[in-house]
């Protein structure tokens, strides 16, 4: 993930992945591209982050994996489960709290 690997940003890749997969199922490369496009090329998920998070979410029951064929090549598609939707809701709420708090601090600093 560009922009450092601090504990502060630890849940962000998971949030982005869950959010994008809530719209439709995707495979790894497709998801990495989607993060880039959706963030206006500001964020990029490196493979060193993307796949461990995908596998971790799948092992935890938040994602479901299935095999599909694209242009003759086998792909592993990921989609959200009910547990994944709940996790997304929880992470989104947390993120909004953090973002709101940061905004408040930044607003205060600018004032």
């Amino acid at each position: 993930m560009s922009g450092g690997n601090s504990a502060f940003m630890a849940g962000v890749p998971e949030l982005l992945i869950l959010k994008l997969l809530s719209a439709r199922e995707m495979y790894g490369y497709e998801l990495a591209k989607a993060v880039q496009v959706a963030s206006g090329e500001t964020l990029s998920l490196g493979e060193g982050v993307l796949y461990p998070v995908l596998h971790g979410l799948e092992a935890g029951g938040a994602l479901r994996a299935r095999t599909g064929l694209v242009s003759g090549r086998r792909r592993i598609y990921y989609s959200l489960t009910v547990r994944g939707r709940r996790r997304l809701q929880a992470l989104s709420r947390r993120w909004q709290q953090v973002a709101g708090a940061v905004d408040a601090v930044m607003g205060g600093a600018h004032a």
Binding site: Y27, P52, R74, R75
Partner: protein, 241 residues
């Protein structure tokens, strides 16, 4: 166009305790990801080798990927997460289950053979005695060696594999089976009296432990040699691309 080799990454993941099925899937995903990155670089106008180089760079550091995977306990194999359950508890029902299955099969064969008069009583008795020898002396070695080989393949501490061998050998040593012309019987028993215990340990437990250790050591070496050969073949094929 050459694809990057992930054999070292795969080995690192397996040695770290990642479940083999998961490691296989990740290798597949990385190959597909590389192919997509490469196609993107070629479309962007880069020539073959430069495109491959750029795609590899975009793919990122394999060591970092391995560290991230290994940092997640939920991705580890059952053997690595709960070795006590796999290597200390599972052998307890494993041997009785397999032995009972074999005994049931033996009784079934005996019943069919006698009902349909497929074999003379002498042939039938020989067959039953062969099954008895297998159940008492070969089955414990096979099961113990399989568990120890599994422990070796999953790179768990060697003590777990040895514990499995010791437990299964003890089951084998304390089990008996009798085959008579019209009777097949089986039972489990052990005495702590030195006169019973010493020969049991010396003539049944110890040989099973030694045989299972030897079989699992040979199996592991053969499996690693095969793995090494397939890596060499893969690299050789790659070099000719």
């Amino acid at each position: 166009m050459p694809e990057p080799q992930f054999a070292l990454l795969r080995r690192r993941l397996l040695d770290g305790g990642i479940a083999p099925r998961r490691a296989r899937r990740l290798m597949h995903e990385l190959r597909a990801h590389f192919a997509d990155l490469l196609a993107g670089q070629l479309q962007a106008g880069l020539a073959g080798p430069a495109a491959a180089q750029a795609a590899l760079q975009r793919l990122g550091d394999q060591e970092a990927l391995a560290r991230q995977m290994l940092a997640r306990p939920e991705l580890l194999s059952w053997s690595r997460r709960w070795p006590w359950a796999i290597y200390a508890l599972a052998p307890l029902p494993l041997f009785p289950a397999m032995f009972s299955l074999l005994l049931a099969t033996t009784v079934g064969i005996g019943w069919v053979t006698q009902k349909l008069q497929l074999a003379s009583p002498a042939d039938f008795l020989s067959l039953m005695r062969a099954i008895r020898l297998f159940a008492l002396y070969v089955l414990p070695v096979m099961l113990a060696a399989a568990m120890a080989t599994l422990a070796g393949r999953r790179s768990v501490a060697p003590g777990w594999g040895l514990l499995s061998i010791a437990l299964l050998a003890l089951w084998g040593a304390t089990t008996n089976m009798t085959v008579l012309p019209h009777l097949i019987g089986a039972g489990v028993g052990m005495s702590l009296h030195p006169r019973v215990l010493a020969p049991l340990l010396l003539y049944r437990w110890l040989p099973t432990v030694v045989a299972a250790t030897a079989v699992s050591t040979i199996s592991l070496r053969l499996l690693r040699a095969r793995e090494h050969d397939s890596q060499v073949t893969e690299n050789g094929t790659d070099a000719t691309c």
